[in-house]
């Protein structure tokens, strides 16, 4: 709760979002695509932060809902004409929420390492479903030939065929999601979720049902991840089973930890840091051929370094740089 409102975190978050907003005005296709990917991942990591940072639910299967959201784009897009952004977007959220609700009925009964294992198991089942069957071309993945658009009374307001339209839409969604999550976290539900994270026995004694609170948060996070997956798939108009895989779930956790759990802004910092680090380390002209070829190794070392050096991730470091950790009232000295 403290990190959300810390001035240093808010200022940096504003700066990063403004930087993302500026990309269409100076960047080419590559820069724009990277910036849109960052924002899509930020949305995905927000769903992970809601679960881990505020609910204490360490999920290793969040990519399943991200992937389902991506596949919703494929299923809800006509083959030769533009589908509706609203239909596909809301469909992706609904699919993510429904899958999270159904799996959550079982998943949120578990805790700790069992929670990790069960979420991973469900996600791998989803991966296998799309990988080992002919659904959407199986392991080959599937293309969405015409990206969706938002058309009102015959006038196309937003067309995802335009990278700029897509970019600003994703940016707006991230800003709205951040604002909604701040309200949610500060609401009685958000406080109860954090209470359940800290000690669910105490919450039961206060009259709360931790199971229902966890299930609601898990479902919301599923919807958010589904929306992120839909927007991500709209970048290239391509979906594949890898979007449900454990690697992406792990990548999301790395981004969340790197950015700072329980801060919301950290989701944006983590996504931006990891995506940009990857891009830099893969660029032979910047880091040389050897590093570019084995970029995973320096990336891992840098992540370990950041995590060890900055407790609380980037958001934690920013809050310490900015002075006192208590952003409100009479916080800590």
């Amino acid at each position: 709760m403290r990190l959300i409102s810390h001035p240093a975190v808010l200022l940096t978050l504003t700066a990063v979002l403004l930087a993302c907003a500026s990309v269409p005005f100076w960047g080419g296709t590559y820069e724009l695509k990277v910036a849109t990917r960052i924002l899509c991942f930020a949305l995905f990591v927000l769903s992970i932060d809601l679960l881990i940072g505020f609910g204490g639910m360490v999920t290793f299967g969040q990519a399943a809902f991200f992937g389902l959201g991506a596949y919703a784009l494929f299923f809800l897009s006509p083959e030769y004409e533009a589908g509706s952004i609203l239909v596909a977007g809301l469909g992706a959220m609904a699919l993510g929420a429904l899958a999270a609700l159904l799996t959550g009925l079982v998943v949120v009964r578990t805790k700790g390492v069992y929670f990790i294992m069960v979420t991973l198991a469900f996600a791998q089942m989803g991966f296998a479903l799309f990988h080992d069957t002919d659904i959407a071309n199986g392991s080959d993945g599937a293309f969405v030939f015409v990206k969706p658009a938002l058309t009102v009374a015959g006038v196309t307001l937003i067309d995802f065929e335009s990278r700029t339209d897509l970019h600003f839409t994703v940016l707006a969604v991230v800003v709205i999601a951040l604002a909604k999550l701040v309200v949610l976290i500060r609401s009685p539900f958000g406080e109860a979720l954090q209470g359940v994270k800290t000690d669910d026995r105490r919450m039961r004694a206060l009259g709360y049902n931790p199971y229902l609170i966890r299930l609601a948060a898990f479902t919301m996070a599923g919807a958010l991840a589904g929306l992120a997956g839909f927007l991500f798939a709209s970048i290239d108009g391509y979906v594949s089973p890898e979007l449900l895989g454990w690697q992406l779930s792990g990548q999301g956790i790395v981004m969340a930890v790197l950015g700072g759990l329980g801060s919301l802004g950290g989701a944006v910092f983590g996504a931006a840091s990891l995506v940009l680090l990857e891009e830099v380390l893969k660029d032979q002209s910047l880091v040389g051929g050897f590093i570019a070829e084995h970029w995973h190794i320096p990336l891992g070392l840098i992540i370990v370094g950041i995590v060890l050096a900055f407790r609380g991730g980037i958001a934690g470091a920013l809050s310490r740089l900015g002075g006192t950790l208590g952003g409100m009232g009479g916080g800590r000295p």
Partner: protein, 234 residues
């Protein structure tokens, strides 16, 4: 016997962990406006009994009645809604929430509101916007009691009420229980300060190896000081 209808009624309650009973065959009841104490050395089952009454651990045998309704199989959150307020040992307030947020989280419709809690503990009113872990031990205990009161309970269960608190703060806490009693609340209190318990509480229950071995008013307890010394180590 209780002076009126029981708000909480335990009958032959047994509970424990992993199938091994820690408390056995406990029967006690508490009426409105009553304050009772649970005494005994460490490890005698006081906290286990309170948790079993609250539904935080399952009962192996026996009955838990709240306001005359059988709640033996109801989960803890429903027992809280039925009228049991719990102040856990060690306060365990939410460190990352402010005083107001800690209180608001527990709030349920009823006469107790954050404002009435601040009337009861003016010290908390001065620290409304402070985070839980910046409060002193005494303030944390006041907050823990205030948080339990905001669930608008009929019975307040307080485990280790004044543990680790300065004498002046302890006195404030004892006075609070007396105030609550006069408002019709029933209070079950676990503490180690025998003198204060004897002067505050209407009845006492002394536990030894998971059973109640001595019970009654102040006179009953003081009638056999040697026995009391054996059970309490005082």
């Amino acid at each position: 016997m209780t002076p009126g209808p029981a708000l909480l009624d335990l009958e032959g309650l047994s509970a424990g962990y992993d199938g091994i009973p820690v408390v056995e065959d406990i029967s006690l009841a508490i009426a409105p406006g009553e304050v009772i104490s649970l005494m005994g050395r460490n490890g005698m089952g006081k906290t286990t009994l309170l948790k079993a009454a609250m539904g935080l651990i399952p009962a192996m045998r026996g009955r838990v009645g709240i306001m005359g309704v059988d709640h033996s199989r109801t989960p803890a959150h429903k027992r809280a809604a039925a009228g049991l307020g719990w102040v856990p040992e060690g306060r365990r307030i939410f460190a990352d929430l402010t005083v107001v947020e800690n209180l608001e989280m527990a709030r349920r419709i009823g006469p107790w509101t954050p404002a009435t809690v601040f009337d009861l503990f003016p010290r908390l009113a001065e620290r409304k916007r402070h985070y839980g872990d910046t409060l002193s031990g005494g303030e944390q205990q006041m907050l823990a009691i205030g948080r339990a009161l905001l669930t608008n309970p009929n019975v307040l269960i307080v485990d280790e009420a004044t543990e680790g608190l300065a004498p002046k703060i302890r006195d404030e806490i004892w006075e609070t229980f007396d105030t609550l009693r006069h408002q019709g609340l029933a209070v079950i209190v676990v503490d180690k300060h025998l003198d204060q318990l004897l002067s505050l509480c209407d009845r006492h229950f002394v536990m030894e190896k998971g059973r109640i071995v001595l019970s009654g008013g102040r006179e009953a307890l003081m009638a056999d000081p040697e026995r009391l010394h054996r059970f309490l180590g005082v």
